[in-house]
């Protein structure tokens, strides 16, 4: 037999054996792949509906410098970024030093994450405890959940004249972000608001001297 013919035969043999091997191996793997896709609906509904938290809450701006005139009423937005998750409501539980901050009000922000007519369940400021409670949710029981990054509330405050010390509005652990699809809070993290006094390098602040405290409209 010529040498070339022998080589050709060997190559063909190896090629055929390879094809047969691949065929047999593929046949053994495919049923498993299909099994993974056929989880029954009953098994799915039995799963505990918890979702990995991804929503972040922050103040905008995150630092306020009261400058040289701390008595002017100032405002700061509370923003939420759901990072793709759909949510149904947010409850803010904030703490501040009532010996430093005064005339605090909180109201739904414009261009609100929950739309132009969100439902405000809780709007409470306790000046003795230094506690702000605010819960905002979908406009109605039938509304679709919301997703995105936007403001949810606007806080206005003044500082006491004789107090010039740096302070914070902190976010308490009771703060929660909820979805109708899960039993757990979707809050991943929340950053405090830092309020500094007379710092020349501080960020520009939003000043709204005409804002007056207004009661929310409880449902």
């Amino acid at each position: 037999m010529p040498k070339k013919t022998t080589i050709l035969i060997v190559v063909l043999l190896l090629f055929t054996a390879g094809l047969v091997y691949i065929a047999v191996r593929t046949e053994q793997q495919n049923p498993n792949q299909i099994d993974e896709e056929t989880i029954s609906e009953e098994e799915l509904t039995d799963l505990v509906p918890t979702i990995n938290p991804q929503t972040q809450i922050s103040f905008s701006p995150s630092v306020i410098d009261t400058g040289t005139n701390p008595q002017i009423s100032q405002s700061v937005n509370v923003a939420a970024n759901t990072n793709g998750q759909t949510i149904s409501g947010i409850q803010l539980e904030l703490s501040y030093d009532p010996a430093v901050l005064t005339n605090i009000t909180i109201e739904p922000a414009e261009n609100n994450l929950f739309g132009p007519n969100p439902a405000v369940l809780i709007n409470s400021v306790d000046p003795n405890l230094g506690r702000i409670s605010f819960a905002i949710t979908l406009p109605s029981l039938d509304s679709d959940e919301v997703v995105g990054s936007s403001n949810i509330a606007t806080i206005t405050f003044s500082t006491l004249q004789n107090k010039v010390q740096n302070t914070q509005i902190t976010v308490l652990p009771k703060t929660t972000v909820r979805s109708l699809k899960s039993t757990n809070s979707l809050l991943q993290n929340a950053m405090p608001l830092n309020i500094n006094f007379s710092s020349p390098s501080a960020q520009q602040i939003i000043i709204s001297p005409t804002l007056t405290p207004s009661d929310s409209q409880p449902l």
Binding site: D142, L180, S182, L219
Partner: protein
Amino acid sequence: MKYLKDKIVIAIIAILLIGLPVLIWQINQNQDVRQRASTSESIKVMIDPATAVMQVGAEREVNIVLDAGTKNIGSFEFEMDYTTAQLEILGFETKSGLNIINETSANGNKKYTLANIASTPVAGVNTLATLRIKANAVGTGTITLKNIKSTATGIYDILQIESGSVLIGTYTIQSSTSTPTTTSIPSTQNPVAVQTLAATEITATSARLSGLITTNQPSADINAQIGYTTNSALGCNNINSNYLKVVKKTTTSETVSYNRTGLAPGTTYYYCIRGTVNDSISPTIYGQVLSFTTLALPSNTPTVTTSPSPSSTVRISGMHANSLGAPFSDNVAVGIQITNLSTNQTQTTTAKPNWSFNDLPRANYRVTVSPVSGYTIKSSICNDCNFHPDYNNGTSVDIDFVNNPNYSFANVYFQYTQIPNPNAAFINVSVSLPGIATNIATAGQGTLYNNTDPIRKLRSVEILIGDSNGGNVTGQATGNSSPVTGNLSYDASTYTYKGNVDLQNLPNGIYQIYLRLDNTLYKRAAGFVTVTKGQTANVPLTALISGDIDKSGTSDNDMTLDDYTLFMACYREMAICTPEAKLRADLDDNGTIDTIDLNIMQRGFAIREGDSPFN
């Protein structure tokens, strides 16, 4: 040597002949696998409601609901035929993030193509679109969805419509002056069917109401409700539910049975069963309204001269009741013995609270209740006990079936009253709930008294105790941090819940009492209560604040977003709402979570925090 060459060549040809067909076969197999994988990608589409009764001139919304599972729907198109003689399409609105990119309209036919052109995924259960329809003429109006096609991100094939590619909504349109039909027939699209069954075990004051729940799609629990009324004009959709049972999703059919006691003798009642699949998308299906009439009580001057054909067997039944007449639920053993006074044969039962002896030979019987330590027992009602109804201080009654041949049953109630422990102190507690025979009209919707017939007649109460300075001394009663618990029964005459609660080891003293039920905040009862061992002190009627339905973590005894979220989930019948949470969310306890419950919850948010003693 040549022979060897030939063998090698033949072997090679043989290998090729075998290998190539195997290869071709395997390629075909892989194609089949891919085809199976693509066709297994299915979605469900439903019309909600699939059936309804409308009156001429009425308008309503019809939802097209999609259950896409985990798939992200990219496009959805369908064709819709409707009967123009009966129905008019007033509007079409998409709901879920799909936008209308193409729409054609002809007489009785519309085509829509919807596409997801936003970044928001359309997955899970969504109301894709809402049709606004108007009933124009008497008859049966139908809406037929057909040629439904949908695609999803990452799936390169048309999705299979698991619920069928043709869906029909049937709407019975009646004259505006006619009485609405009280039953609805489930369509083939509905995953659940209900059938009201004939009432059984009918006595003068009780009856067993039953219905059959079946489902061809046991994918979710089914809330089965039975309701009754004396109003013959009500349809099943307007009869308040008096009984709720969750039929588990593993069951394809189940008979739901409700033994209703406390009925008025000689009265006709109308009842039905309804079922809702707890999957957020299925409509409620109503069973036929049936009726039964309770037996009349015998007159005070019975005439027994005519007894043409008395039945050969009789039945004796009854109930163990607490001091208020409600079912006796204390954790103690009870026993009933009946004695045939002709043969002296006896039978016993320990069933509680209801018991019965059936198919007894006609004779006179003595019914005796077993003594229970710590309680006094006395017969309170004995319908048809025409002979010595009060033997042994009320623990026995005799029933005369021999001289009363027209009667074949008897009902005997025994009431249990706890004997005060000389070392224990008790308080009489009474509470009222918003929405339970109270007027919430000032807060929005609601009738003058709202629901006067709550489903849960027996409610568990939790009690915290504060000393005169407000400090929490509950532990002195219970020995730990747990609240004192007790049972309250609904008093239909005062529309309040009442009960006697044992304060256990609490020393004599002056205390503050804080009360709550399973869906209310704690509320401090007015004033102070003087507690003395061996005596019962009265706590003033306390109006509780409802709405605290999430009892977890920091949401307990506090109205929070968690409560509202759970309420919304129960309103929408979503997965995070457990059957227990659903009961708590039904704040007016009428079997339906609706805007009245929302109104009550909103009042709770005005209060926010419950009372509690200092820790």
